[in-house]
């Protein structure tokens, strides 16, 4: 039985200028420990909303259903508690934090999470060593550590910075929200390698993407097709290839 991530009948809405707008309309999804799942779907199907609801953004009102993670009611936790429990969201559009030194930010985050997990905090030397190893793996310059978080970063640099954070925070469940957008093929390979090397019995991920291309590098165990706030089809990695060739139409028609 799966006691890792279990989402049942999840419904959520957002306040759109005073009128509530239903976005998630009953999501059922289970991701067992150690598996990587992908979600594909047309724009506006609710993919990003799902990632925000799972990581705790409070603009969304959950109106029904449940989500449990490692046996805990995920939806009852604050975002920082979810992070401590092992949830990580790689943002589609990471925000800028002017004046906040990237290395300081990373170290503050790493130590906040380590404290919450009952681990020793990293001192400056140990942290620098850890972060240098990761920036090397992701082909990032040390200069990016000295800049303000995401300020003046190119699209590709922002995505790499997200993957850097993910690797340092060592989540057990990562959500990658269109991490491939804005990446050239070399950057895509590097980012995919950053994710793949975390793969193991204790790491699961939900990869949200528009493109088959990313899934050539991060091969998922399962692929889910999402439309209009629901998962309308689930299958193996081959589903991504079918979608790439034939588009969403046949899935949408089959679901209708």
């Amino acid at each position: 039985m799966n006691d890792f991530l279990k989402i049942q009948g999840l419904e959520a809405r957002i306040d759109a200028d005073g009128t509530p707008k239903e976005i998630l309309k009953g999501i059922d999804l289970e991701i067992p420990k150690g598996e990587i799942h992908a979600i594909m779907g047309p724009n506006g199907s609710g993919k990003s909303t799902l990632s925000y609801v799972l990581s705790g953004r409070d603009d969304y009102e959950v109106t029904g259903g449940s989500a449990t993670f490692k046996g805990q009611d995920l939806l009852a936790l604050d975002p920082e508690e979810r992070a401590a429990l092992g949830v990580f969201l790689a943002f589609q559009s990471p925000v800028e934090l002017p004046g906040v030194n990237n290395a300081n930010f990373l170290r503050t985050a790493v130590n906040a999470v380590r404290r919450a997990r009952g681990e020793d905090e990293l001192d400056a030397v140990a942290f620098l060593k850890a972060v240098r190893a990761e920036t090397k793996r992701l082909s990032m310059s040390d200069e990016m550590l000295k800049r303000a978080v995401n300020v003046g970063f190119s699209g590709g640099e922002k995505k790499r910075n997200e993957v850097l954070q993910m690797r340092l925070l060592q989540p057990s469940f990562a959500i990658l929200d269109e991490t491939d957008s804005g990446l050239d093929i070399d950057a895509l390979r590097i980012v995919a390698d950053g994710v793949n090397s975390l793969r193991g019995p204790d790491f699961s991920a939900l990869v949200i993407t528009h493109h088959q291309r990313l899934l050539d590098y991060i091969v998922p165990d399962r692929v889910h097709v999402m439309a209009k706030g629901k998962i309308i089809f689930s299958g193996g990695p081959e589903v991504a290839k079918t979608l790439e060739k034939q588009g969403y139409t046949q899935f949408l028609e089959a679901a209708a």
Binding site: G56, D58, E80, A83, P94, V95, V100, N101, T108, A112
Partner: protein, 495 residues
């Protein structure tokens, strides 16, 4: 970032008592009766054993003050101040110097401990005999404890370098020529209502003189404390730095909680000669009043520096988090050719605090340069105004100014205003002004929290990032304290 951890601890401590540093020390005091007239001025002068010329100087200022009106142009409001309903002098009763810390008034030591002053420094402050021989800290402290310097430390080391650092009342007696020459030469008594009041009744403050070519061997710091019920605080600071000399002066303060408004009207005068440099840093955390704004301190200060010599430099850095009302414009008069004025400021207001603060850069000479970086953070129902004047006089050929004013709003009930006054009378002068207003966004908060940071830590990080350009100008030990203060001041302002 360790400061965040420290900040967390500070916040936790504060959660227990709403204003940790709101304590009052019970020490035997000499207090002058309430009220202000020529007799009060005479009494102060007599208590200070001042020479006749000083008394005359004070009386002249007092007579001017009587003719003046309280200024009303600042964007602040408060009930009328009854200047007759305050004490103008309070002095702790002096005893012979204690032999060890055990003999020091335990109340005084408790106060120092709450302020976080290291033990060794406590001994020095309390005037323990022999404590000065074990010099360890490169910081000299002149503690202004309720208007009177209880002790002056590291005086010997400084004396060897030729630096004079002492209470101004000592300087009036011991260095009358210097005081006569410079006191009131940058901020004349007639300058404004509060400067005139200060000139008449100032009770203490610091005097610094750095002679030609000397780099002051240590940071000079003064802890201001306001500690007697209903005692107005009128400090007077005079810093003179001769040719090629330099000094860094730190001023920091925390004040006890109380239920009646306290007026604080200090005057600070800085004088820099050829190639001299003065760095004046302030961290101000006076009691801002309760959540409704009752009982906080009124801080009406005149701070001005004169760059008299060629290539001289005066740099003001301030972090203002306290007081119910702040009215303060540290300024530079750039009279020496190629002289430089700088103003770096962070002003935080929360709850019902009001701040009208900024600077004046008066360019008199050619090739003078000034930089203004002002960061304003408003939260709660507070109101904050940046008011800055940049004036290029006809002789200020090729003078340059760069001004950057950034406001950060937290919540939707606070206000931030920027009022720049720009006057140029020289065609070759260049003036740049940039201003931004922003809010801490939900996106930024969520981003930080999804990385494991608590909401308080996230706000602290974002605010400290916003103020980074200013905080990096502070001396190291002040920078850490300032980061804590910023977060503590904004506690509970989000969510």
């Amino acid at each position: 970032m360790p400061a965040v951890t420290e900040t967390r601890e500070t916040v936790e401590k504060l959660a227990k008592s709403s204003y940790e540093w709101g304590f009052e020390t019970d020490i035997e005091m000499d207090i002058a009766p309430k009220g202000l007239n020529e007799d009060t001025v005479r009494l102060i002068s007599e208590h200070k054993r001042e020479p006749e010329w000083m008394l005359e100087w004070r009386l002249k200022a007092f007579r001017m003050w009587l003719e003046m009106k309280e200024p009303e142009w600042a964007k602040v409001s408060h009930p009328p101040i009854d200047y007759q309903d305050a004490h103008y002098f309070a002095q702790p009763k002096k005893k012979p110097g204690p032999k060890s810390l055990d003999e020091v008034d335990p109340e005084l030591l408790k106060t120092y401990a709450k302020l976080g002053i290291p033990l060794h420094e406590q001994a020095l402050l309390a005037g323990v005999e022999g404590a000065e021989d074990q010099k360890r800290l490169p910081v000299a402290v002149d503690a202004v404890f309720d208007s009177v310097s209880v002790a002056t430390t590291f005086r010997k080391t400084l004396e060897e370098a030729g630096v004079i650092f002492c209470p101004i009342s000592d300087a009036i007696r011991e260095h009358p020529d210097l005081v006569k020459q410079y006191l009131g030469s940058v901020v004349p008594a007639a300058d404004n209502f509060f400067a005139a009041l200060n000139s008449a009744v100032f009770t203490d403050g610091s005097f610094v003189f750095v002679p030609k070519g000397v780099r002051c061997p240590m940071e000079l710091s003064t802890y201001f404390r306001i500690n007697a019920r209903n005692t107005g605080q009128f400090e007077r600071t005079l810093i003179i730095v001769e040719d090629g000399a330099s000094v860094s002066y730190l001023e920091g303060c925390t004040a006890p909680q109380r239920d009646e408004n306290q007026l604080h009207a200090a005057v600070v005068e800085l004088i820099a000669m050829d190639d001299a440099s003065i760095k004046y840093s302030t961290v101000q955390n006076w009691y801002p009043g309760d959540d409704e704004g009752r009982g906080g301190i009124y801080n009406f200060v005149t701070k001005r520096g004169a760059c008299r010599g060629a290539r001289s430099k005066i740099s003001w850095t301030q972090v203002e988090t306290g007081s119910a009302i702040t009215w303060k414009y540290p300024s530079c008069v750039l009279a020496g050719e190629g002289s430089v004025g700088e103003f770096y400021s962070v002003a935080v207001t929360n709850n019902h605090q009001q701040a009208d603060t900024g600077t004046k850069m008066i360019h008199l000479a050619p090739n003078t340069r000034s930089t203004i970086i002002a960061k304003t953070i408003s939260a709660g129902r507070s109101d904050s105004t940046y008011r800055g004047l940049v004036r290029m006089q006809p002789k200020a050929r090729n003078a340059r100014n760069f001004t950057q004013c950034d406001s950060l709003l937290i919540g939707d009930q606070c206000g931030a205003h920027t009022v720049p006054y720009i006057e140029s009378r020289n065609m070759t002068a260049r003036i740049e002004h940039e201003a931004t207003t922003s809010k801490i966004s939900e996106d930024q908060l969520f981003y930080c929290r999804s990385r494991g940071l608590s909401e308080e830590d996230a706000v602290g990080l974002i605010v400290n990032g916003f103020c980074r350009e200013v905080l990096k100008e502070l001396p190291m030990e002040f920078a850490v304290e300032a980061q804590k203060l910023l977060q503590v001041s904004l506690e509970g302002s989000v969510g």
